[in-house]
Symmetry: C2
């Protein structure tokens, strides 16, 4: 039986494995991995009771996972506990690991995350990618990836897959950048330019940001709308712990929701889109600043210092976000809205007007808004963790592959 380690978009849990004895074994291996990952260290007996299988069945599964290097035994549990001591199981800190990478408008980054969720290697390269073609960018990114993978290999890890976050619309093939306006890329097969031995997949940065929030955020619910921004404004819709991707993979384009039907023209073809009011360039213009690298930091510094023009620009952006989010909340009824990406650091000046707008447009209690702690780290971490999740979701595929 062959099952791809990655789906085209790696981070879709709930994929149906075949409903046969072999499929059941695969799913039960995944259950053991997820249980130990979420609650470990655990004894075999504790795993058995949590997933509702017999101790004998669990032992067979555990032995297989230890042989594949996915689980490890920590030795007998400390005395003082009730009952016969068992050997505690933990997810391995060696073996397969997830490689994440990020193409930002003004930086590149790569990292390696082990199955325990720890970042074990990381590298960043600053410098604008605006107007550079995909080939040299992919070459630079590949060099960063090779660097972090080499570091990880010295620690006994090996790459189980590579996910790359890009600020643009990605086709559902998980490799083609259909449109990345701030990089000026169109219909670019980025997957083909990345190291094939790592089975790369490409996804939108806002999607990876939302997944990072789902997997790593503190008490993030399973239904939320994640809003993020680098230069554009992206969003991702998470429903029952799954990313809503849309037919073409383009869902979450909050930046092009009309806020003023006859407002300024937008390059997307629309008028009065949210990005014309709350996108980085619109806010910089309103604040009287020139666009350029590191401008979000400058906005925060000036707002902090009490610059009235900057504060007004951010407050107006918050109002526009509040109008667009009212529509989104009415359509999706999420449990919360999470502000992530670069927006997170501007939250103190965006939130008051944003929340006021949501509240005044809602008869009942308004949808709560929270601020991501991951901020701009979200997409890179989400990319690496999506590979880790794919291993936990189908550990048998890793064993077959190695």
């Amino acid at each position: 039986m062959t099952a791809p380690l990655h789906e085209p978009h790696p981070a879709r849990p709930g994929r149906a494995l075949p409903d046969t004895q072999a499929g059941m074994r695969r799913r039960n291996l995944a259950r053991v991995m997820h249980t130990v990952s979420a609650e470990g260290p655990l004894s075999r007996a504790a795993v058995a009771s949590r997933i509702g299988l017999t101790r004998a069945a669990v032992s067979t599964l555990v032995d297989e996972l230890i042989r594949s290097g996915l689980l490890q035994e920590l030795g007998p549990e400390r005395p003082g506990r009730v009952g016969r001591p068992g050997s505690a199981l933990a997810v391995s800190g060696r073996g397969p690991a997830g490689v994440g990478a990020e193409v930002g408008v003004d930086h590149l980054a790569a990292c390696v995350v082990d199955l325990r969720g720890q970042v074990r290697a990381r590298a960043v390269r600053h410098g604008t990618n605006r107007g550079r073609s995909a080939e040299p960018v992919a070459k630079d990114l590949t060099a960063l990836i090779s660097q972090v993978v080499a570091e990880a290999e010295q620690q006994g890890l090996w790459p189980a897959g590579l996910s790359v976050a890009v600020p643009g619309l990605i086709a559902r093939d998980g490799r083609t950048v259909v449109r990345a306006p701030n990089l000026d890329w169109h219909d670019t097969d980025l997957g083909a330019l990345l190291p094939a031995e790592f089975t790369p997949t490409v996804d939108n940065e806002a999607n990876f940001g939302a997944l990072a929030e789902l997997w790593l955020g503190e008490s993030t619910p399973r239904d939320f709308l994640h809003v993020s921004a680098e230069i554009g404004i992206g969003a991702a819709v998470v429903v029952d712990g799954r990313l809503l991707r849309g037919t073409r993979g383009f869902a979450g384009e909050l930046g092009h929701v009309p806020v003023e039907p006859e407002g300024p023209a937008c390059p997307c073809g629309g008028r009065g889109c949210l990005e014309q009011y709350a996108g980085e360039e619109a806010v910089l213009r309103a604040a009287g600043l020139e666009p350029g690298e590191g401008r979000v930091g400058l906005l925060a510094t000036r707002a902090e210092a009490g610059d009235e023009r900057v504060r007004r620009a951010l407050s107006d952006a918050g109002t526009a976000l509040g109008i667009a989010l009212t529509g989104a909340v009415n359509l999706l009824d999420p449990q919360t809205v999470v502000l992530g990406g670069a927006l997170a650091s501007l939250a103190p000046w965006l939130l008051p007007s944003l929340e006021a707008e949501l509240a005044r447009r809602t008869a009942g209690p308004a949808c709560p808004v929270s601020v991501s702690r991951l901020g701009p780290q979200g997409p890179l971490l989400g990319a690496a963790h999506s590979v880790v999740r794919a291993v936990l979701d189908d550990p048998a595929a890793v064993a077959e592959r190695r």
Copy 2:
């Protein structure tokens, strides 16, 4: 093992049955039912080849489904086909059936649909329910339900469940009408007022309309946005063949997406909501007509006759729908938008401006818009079919119940 025949919201496919031998058997029973339902009549061998199980395994499952009255044998297949003749299997036209009911603002309705999807009994009661409390409405509805069930029983059918469509927000408990502004119901436990022996569940009419489109529409995709209207404007989001319900069950409130941020106040608490431009009352007002029963028909008649004021009112409503739908399409990236409910009959005058707005606000190809053939029949049919689908999704539960 007990499994409820209905979930609180009956029409959620993909519910995880336990991953055990017994669970596998249950899922395989469902596969056989769905295969015969979609493609029957079929021989046992044809079913086996379609679902990838052995002929022997399928025969055991089929025998069980025949004993429960869910499948029937039609006798040997007609000669002239290649190979040894097998006995063709069909879904039973007797036995369990779905009961659907509808509370409209100006009517009540009930029907019974058999497992083959045929409407076998139907009853309607005209007259306004505006301002009536839930008790007398539920009493009248129960009388209609009893009438269609009695008719169905004379045909050898028995009610496997009851689903009721209501124009309002329904809690995820599947029984409480949280808010139905046009009935003036608030936090009304409608489930408690309906005949308990049919295990009633209550859902929003737009949700049932969308499910009817998914199940009964011609070549409806599995990702679409369904827009419907009786007095309010509702929508339902279907993603990969599933209804997106939202945290509280309130998703799909397209009518309260802001279209003009500083437009007229809306009872929802917002301003410039779509309903203020494209809701039935707003359109009647713009057309110079008084609100009242059967007004949608009057709008259609006058528009047909060339009444310029009516045509302009409908065209403006189409523009407002186009603006709100641009936002929804950007967020959800559906394959199509389907106009259903009362709107369907007004499509000739709404669609041109609606589609023009979508096209001018979209850089690439605009999301296609189609018109439901079910129109105002959708919610009632969707309600009855949701019970039928629940039987197909877990036939073992019916057998245990009867």
